[in-house]
Symmetry: C2
C-alpha cells in the first residue's frame, strides 16, 4: 500500500506474512553504520531463527536517526504484530530510502494497518512494488524442486539499483520457500548462495546502511525437515541459488543508469580471494565502466585495474578477452582485434575474461556500466 512516505504517492509499505512461524536465516549489511531496522532485526532474529512476518517501508531508510529511529523500528513491528496477532519478535523490519530523516511513524502505522487488512495470496507483485525506490522495474523470481519426494516452491523479491556493492548490494531481498528446513541447513544455504549472488555484484561500489537478505522456510510442503549434507539440501540449495542469482543479476541490470550487464570472469589466480579481488578491481573501475558505456574495448583500462587490484600479478602472463576476442595476449595489446572487440562491446551483455596465468582459482562478478544517467539520477535527486 501507499502511506505517504513517498512524495510520489507510490506504494511504500509492504507486509509479507507466512501462515505459520517459519524457520528463518538472514544476512545484514556489514557497513559499520547500520540503520535502526537492521540493528533491531539482528537482535530480534538472533539465534532463534524464527520469523513469521516482514514489514518494509521504502522512501525513508531510518538510518542516522538515533534512539528515536530505534523506537520507530520497534513501532513498525509492534503495529504489525498487533494487526496480525503474532509475537512482535516474529516480525522483522526493513527500511530503505533517504538517510538521516526521521521516519513518519504515524503515517507508517496507518499504512501497516491497511496492508494487514489487504493481505492476500496473490499480491506478491504488489509487495515487490512497495519495496522499490529508484528501481526501474520490480524484481521477482521463482523456482521449484523435489525434496524427499515432495515438490517444494521458492519465491523471492528484491529491490536495489544504486549503492550496489560487494558484500552486499544496497538492497533488500526476501526469499520464501514452503519446504521444511532445519535452521542450520537454512543458514548454510543462504550464506553459500549469497556469496555467489548478492555478494558478487557491484553497480557503484557504495554499500548501504540497510542491506538485508532474509530466507524463510515455513514447512507447508509437508516434507521431512531438510538437513545439512542431505540430497534434499543439495537440491534445495541449487533452486534457492537460482532464484537469488536471478534477483542479483536483475539488480545489476537495473543498476542506476545501466545500459550494459557485464560478467567479469578472472581465471588462473593463486586463490579464489585473489581472483575476486582482481574481478572487483575491474568491476568497480570508473574508467572501465565509462568505457563500457562508450562501447570502447579499452583493454588498457582493464590492465591498469588489474595491476591496481592489490594482488601480485605478473603483467606479461595476462590475457584479456571480450567474449571470444583476445585483446591482450601475454600482457601485450593486440590492436588487430580492435574491430571484433568493438562488436562485442556493442552487445547489451558480454563477458570480460581475464587469465592471470598464476594458478587454478577463478571468480566471477557482475557489473554495470557508468552512464550519464547514473550521474543524473544521483546528482539531481536526493535518494
Amino acid at each position: 500500500v501507499a502511506c505517504g512516505i513517498k512524495k510520489s504517492g507510490n506504494k511504500d509499505v509492504a507486509l509479507i506474512v507466512a501462515d505459520r512461524a517459519a524457520t528463518a536465516a538472514a544476512l545484514f549489511t556489514t557497513n559499520r553504520v547500520k540503520a535502526a531496522p537492521v540493528l533491531l532485526g539482528m537482535q530480534r532474529l538472533g539465534r532463534r531463527g524464527k520469523l513469521q512476518a516482514v514489514v518494509v517501508n521504502s522512501g525513508n531508510a531510518n538510518a542516522c536517526t538515533g534512539a528515536a529511529g530505534l523506537r520507530a523500528a520497534e513501532a513498525m513491528c509492534d503495529e504489525a504484530s498487533d494487526c496480525l496477532g503474532i509475537d512482535a519478535r516474529l516480525v522483522l523490519p526493513s527500511s530503505t530510502g533517504v538517510i538521516g530523516v526521521p521516519l513518519p511513524v504515524e503515517k507508517l502505522r496507518a499504512g501497516i494497518r491497511r496492508a494487514a487488512a489487504a493481505l492476500s495470496e496473490d499480491s506478491f507483485q504488489h509487495a515487490a512494488q512497495a519495496i522499490i525506490t529508484t528501481d526501474r522495474f520490480i524484481k521477482t523470481a521463482s523456482a521449484n524442486c523435489i525434496v524427499a519426494g515432495k515438490r517444494v516452491r521458492i519465491a523471492g523479491m528484491a529491490k536495489g539499483a544504486g549503492m550496489i556493492a560487494p558484500r552486499m548490494a544496497t538492497m533488500l531481498a526476501y526469499v520464501f520457500t514452503d519446504a521444511a528446513v532445519e535452521v542450520g541447513c537454512l543458514r548454510a544455504i543462504l550464506s553459500a548462495a549469497a556469496d555467489q549472488t548478492f555478494n558478487s555484484v557491484t553497480v557503484d561500489g557504495d554499500m548501504s546502511t540497510n542491506d538485508t537478505v532474509v530466507l524463510m522456510a515455513n514447512g507447508a510442503a509437508g516434507n521431512a525437515p531438510v538437513r545439512r549434507g542431505s540430497r534434499g539440501a543439495a537440491a534445495l540449495s541449487r533452486a534457492i541459488y537460482g532464484v537469488m542469482k536471478q534477483l542479483a543479476l536483475k539488480l545489476v541490470e537495473d543498476g542506476e543508469g545501466a545500459t550494459k550487464l557485464v560478467e567479469i570472469r578472472v581465471e588462473g589466480a593463486r586463490s579464489t580471494e585473489a581472483a575476486r579481488q582482481a574481478a572487483y578491481a575491474i568491476a568497480r573501475s570508473q574508467l572501465v565502466k565509462t568505457a563500457f558505456f562508450g562501447q570502447d574495448p579499452n583493454f588498457g583500462r582493464i590492465m591498469a585495474a588489474i595491476g591496481n587490484a592489490g594482488i601480485p600479478v605478473v603483467a606479461d602472463r595476462i590475457d584479456v578477452l571480450f567474449d571470444r576476442v583476445a585483446v591482450v595476449k601475454k600482457g601485450v595489446g593486440n590492436p588487430a582485434a580492435e574491430q571484433g572487440a568493438a562488436r562485442v562491446l556493442r552487445r547489451r551483455s558480454f563477458r570480460v575474461r581475464v587469465r592471470l596465468g598464476q594458478g587454478t582459482k577463478n571468480a566471477t562478478v557482475w557489473t554495470s556500466d557508468l552512464s550519464h544517467e547514473y550521474v543524473r539520477i544521483n546528482s539531481a535527486y536526493r535518494t
Copy 2:
C-alpha cells in the same frame, strides 16, 4: 614540440635538461602493470641517484607493449643522449596516453631531435604544455627559499586529470631545484612531500601504469649540499612540499569534468592510516561525488561511506560538518542544517570535516565531484 603522436597536432614531446648532472630521486606507480618507460626508468635511476635529462612523450603510454615497448623506451633515451652528448643512463623516459598501442619510434626520434635543437631557458611552459593529455590547463608552480644563506629556487610541472588515485595519481610530475642536496636527503624530502600531496588526492580512484614523480637538484645555487636533519633540509622540504601541493591540487581542480575541489578532513581516528582510509572512502564514493556535483548536502552518503571504510567506527560518535555547518551530530542527522549546508555545497571549493571521536589522529585528502562531463570524456574518447 609536436611530433605527430597526437592526432590533434598539439605538442607531444618534452625534453627537460639540466646544465649539469643532477642528484635525483623518483617515485613510480605502484600499479603491478607498469609501462615500459617506468620499468626502464626504475632500472636506470636505480641506486645511483643521478639524472641530467627527462624526455617525455604524451599521446601514447607505451604500456602493454611488450619487448618492443622496452626497446622503444630505450630508443627515446638513446636519441636524447645522442642529441645532448650525455650518457643515456642520465636520461629518464616518461610516456602518457593511450595504453596498448605501439609507440611510433621514428616520429618520436625526430621530435626529440627538434626538441633538443629548440632547447631554451624560457620554454618551461612549452614543456608543461607538451606533457598534458586530457588536461584543460597546464600545471606549473614555483617557490624559493634560503638554504644555508643562499637563495635557491624550485620549479615544477605536472600533468594529470583522469586516473587520479591514491598512491599515485595518473600523473607525471617533474620538480627541479638549483639547490645542492645529498641524495638521501633528496629522497626523504620527495617521499615525505609526495605522501601529503600526490598520494593524498583522488579523482576517480583508478591508478595508472605510468605515474612518475621526479625531483632533480643540480646544485647550481652553489650552497653546501643539504643534509638530512639540517635546518636547510627543513626549509627546502617546506618549499618543495609547497610546490608539490600546488601541483597536486591543480590535478584535482582539473579532474576530468570536475566542478568542485573538496577537502576531506577526518579527525579523531585511532591511527593516521585509519583516518586516511575513512577520508579516502568518502573521497572515492561515487554517490558522495555525484551529490557534490548536484550540490546536495547528502550526509547520509557520507555516513554510509564512513561505515564502509573498513575501519571500526562507532556510528553514534560521528560528527560531520560541511565547512562550519554541522549536518550530523553524534551519528544523528540534523535536518535543520539543510539550508546552511546547501549554501556551502554551492561553493566552488569547500571542506567536509568528519570527527570520529575515537582518538587523536587526523588525515586530509582532496577530491573532485563526479559530473556528466567525466562520463562524457571517458566514454566518448579513447584516452
